[in-house]
């Protein structure tokens, strides 16, 4: 069955440093992979999507990579700020080569805390 693992339950870093979060998946060939942010008691908020034929995508201080050989995505937040503190979720989706607009299967999330 499909399995999604995010590197650790919690990650603590100092303000200004780069946070790197890992998402590994098995028994799955997603057509794309999404990253979401979730604050306590709130719904997930979309951050970035990267497709199977893309190696890297950037948006402001965010960068995501997608290695379909390693079955891994890395999510980086550069120049981190205390406001970046939240749970970050990865969600592979679709089927490689398919046209699904289907469900998202989320990892358990990594709780990021950025200390001032």
């Amino acid at each position: 069955s499909q399995k999604i693992e995010q590197n650790s339950e919690a990650l603590n870093i100092q303000e200004g440093k780069t946070a790197t979060l890992t998402c590994n998946y098995t028994n799955y060939s997603p057509a794309y992979l999404q990253w979401y942010r979730q604050d306590p008691g709130r719904g997930p908020v979309f951050l970035l999507l990267i497709r199977e034929n893309e190696k890297e995508k950037r948006k402001e201080r965010l960068k995501v990579t997608f290695d379909t050989t390693l079955k891994q995505s890395l999510f980086h937040i550069t120049a981190s700020q205390p406001a970046d503190s939240a749970t970050y979720l990865c969600a592979p989706g679709g089927n490689a080569g398919g046209t699904s607009y289907g469900k998202l299967t989320f990892g358990q999330g990594t709780i990021l805390t950025v200390h001032p």
């Binding site: 794309y32 999404q34 979401y36 979730q38 008691g41 709130r42 719904g43 997930p44 908020v45 979309f46 999507l49 979720l89 989706g93 679709g94 607009y101 289907g102 469900k103 998202l104 299967t105 989320f106 990892g107 358990q108 999330g109």
Partner: protein
């Protein structure tokens, strides 16, 4: 900016009662979803809905669950006879064609079954 809305924000019910959770997706979106998150656990897919029918459902979505789009704006999740283990946060999400497959989530309804 358009957003997905959900009502109520909180719902407390007795075991065995029916509940209806309501969602208003973003107006020009075509695909609709329900997810749930039990406290401290991950977000889980329940069901997807497109063209007025269910396109996919998980094993959680058994006969006690149903979805409906009764008019052009609302999307509802009904639980016919609630169980204690249905207590969770329920999120509605919507997706527009050509939106790069980013789903937009509502703020959620916290359901507590006593």
């Amino acid at each position: 900016e358009p957003e997905v809305t959900q009502t109520p924000s909180h719902q407390v019910t007795q075991m065995g009662q029916e509940v209806i959770l309501r969602c208003v997706p973003i107006s020009n979106h075509l695909y609709f979803y329900w997810y749930r998150q039990i406290l401290g656990q991950k977000v889980e897919f329940l069901v997807s809905f497109y063209n007025n029918e269910i396109s996919e459902k998980s094993e959680i979505f058994d006969d006690q669950f149903s979805v409906e789009r009764p008019d052009g704006s609302n999307f509802t999740l009904k639980i016919r006879s609630t169980k204690l283990e249905d207590s969770a946060m329920y999120f509605c999400a919507s997706l527009g064609a050509g939106a790069g497959r980013a789903q937009y989530f509502g703020p959620g309804t916290r359901l507590l079954v006593l």
